[in-house]
Symmetry: C2
Subunit: 187 residues, 2 copies
DNA sequence: GTCTATAATTTGATAGAC
DNA sequence: GTCTATCAAATTATAGAC
């Protein structure tokens, strides 16, 4: 059930990530999936609809990943580290997912999608920082600034990794990266 | 001299920044510039050529901006702060320029352009961090990690600003943002 | 549900007059 | 250098048989 649909999404993700949304035509997707145009338009109302489904699916998935971490009973420092570790791992094992979520310019082809930063995964990061301020682990800061400082370095490294600009695996930077992030906001 | 050319570039920047490169046709540029197709193709070999010229121009401009700051005789900490202040100011006064440089997916429409991170402005940030390690101001770190930590937070805030997600002007976050960045890497 | 064939637009780009 | 008119190709999407 929904097997063809899933395959369309998988192929589309691959192509969007590889060549970009606008450099991928429905015919490209059709070809790569070994299907016909008709089959695709039976499952989706159009190319934008495919991107939209993909966006919801992947944001939801990342949300679940982070929520697990945020819910864990531990210090904010430890949780932030696990979150970064998860993000690094995801970027290594499924770069297409990371690329689509992070630097697909959703607003360019999904006019109705909210900016990535107002999406649940990013809200979770914000909430974590606010919680840290509540417990006194994190010093008093505009929460937005705190979240940017705590996770901004990690996100930059992920971008660099996706662009193929890092010589070593992301994981090898984990310790230093988290250390930097924490020093930035620690009380 | 080169007046028409400049106008084409200005209009293209505006439209690219507003709607994205792929949602902007040469006919759109023609219309917005009050010119004809012929005039545009006389000055540029095509749409991609316009984007390329724009890319070179703006990266060069940002490069000059940063180089001025990096050359100033002061501590690495102070210089990094000035750089962030300049970037914030540019993002406020010329968001189209910042948008084009930062989050236009250059590789999608300029296959020959190097990734933005390997471009001179970003190399300067890296060099600044390395210099700080030399003088002992910055603790020993993989330079890439250090640069990501020192400027990652600021870049995130700029992205948020460009997405209209910041309630207050960027400048109001400058002090806290720079403080966070410096704590992350200070020796 | 999947196919082929095709319609309707749009796009990047060229030709040639002025 | 700028214009208008036009082309060729590609793209999204639909129609209708099976």
């Amino acid at each position: 059930m929904g097997d063809t649909r899933r395959q369309i999404l998988a192929v589309a993700l691959q192509l969007f990530s590889e060549n970009g949304y606008f450099n991928t035509s429905v015919h490209d997707i059709k070809r790569a999936a070994g299907l016909s145009i008709g089959a695709i338009y039976h499952h989706f109302s159009g190319k934008e609809s495919i991107a939209q489904a993909l966006h919801e699916l992947l944001v939801e998935r990342m949300s679940a990943l982070l929520e697990e971490r945020v819910a864990a009973a531990a210090t904010v420092c430890e949780r932030s580290r696990w979150i970064v570790a998860d993000l690094f791992a995801l970027a290594e094992t499924e770069p297409t997912v990371m690329r689509f979520i992070l630097h697909a310019r959703h607003q360019e082809f999904l006019p109705d999608a909210p900016p990535i930063c107002s999406t649940r995964p990013f809200q979770l990061l914000l909430k974590l920082v606010e919680e840290g301020m509540g417990t006194g682990e994190v010093r008093a800061l505009e929460p937005t600034v705190g979240a940017a400082a705590l996770f901004g370095g990690a996100l930059r490294l992920i971008h660099l990794h996706l662009d193929g600009m890092l010589p070593a695996p992301l994981a090898s930077y984990l310790d230093d990266c988290c250390d930097c992030g924490w020093r930035a906001v620690a009380a």
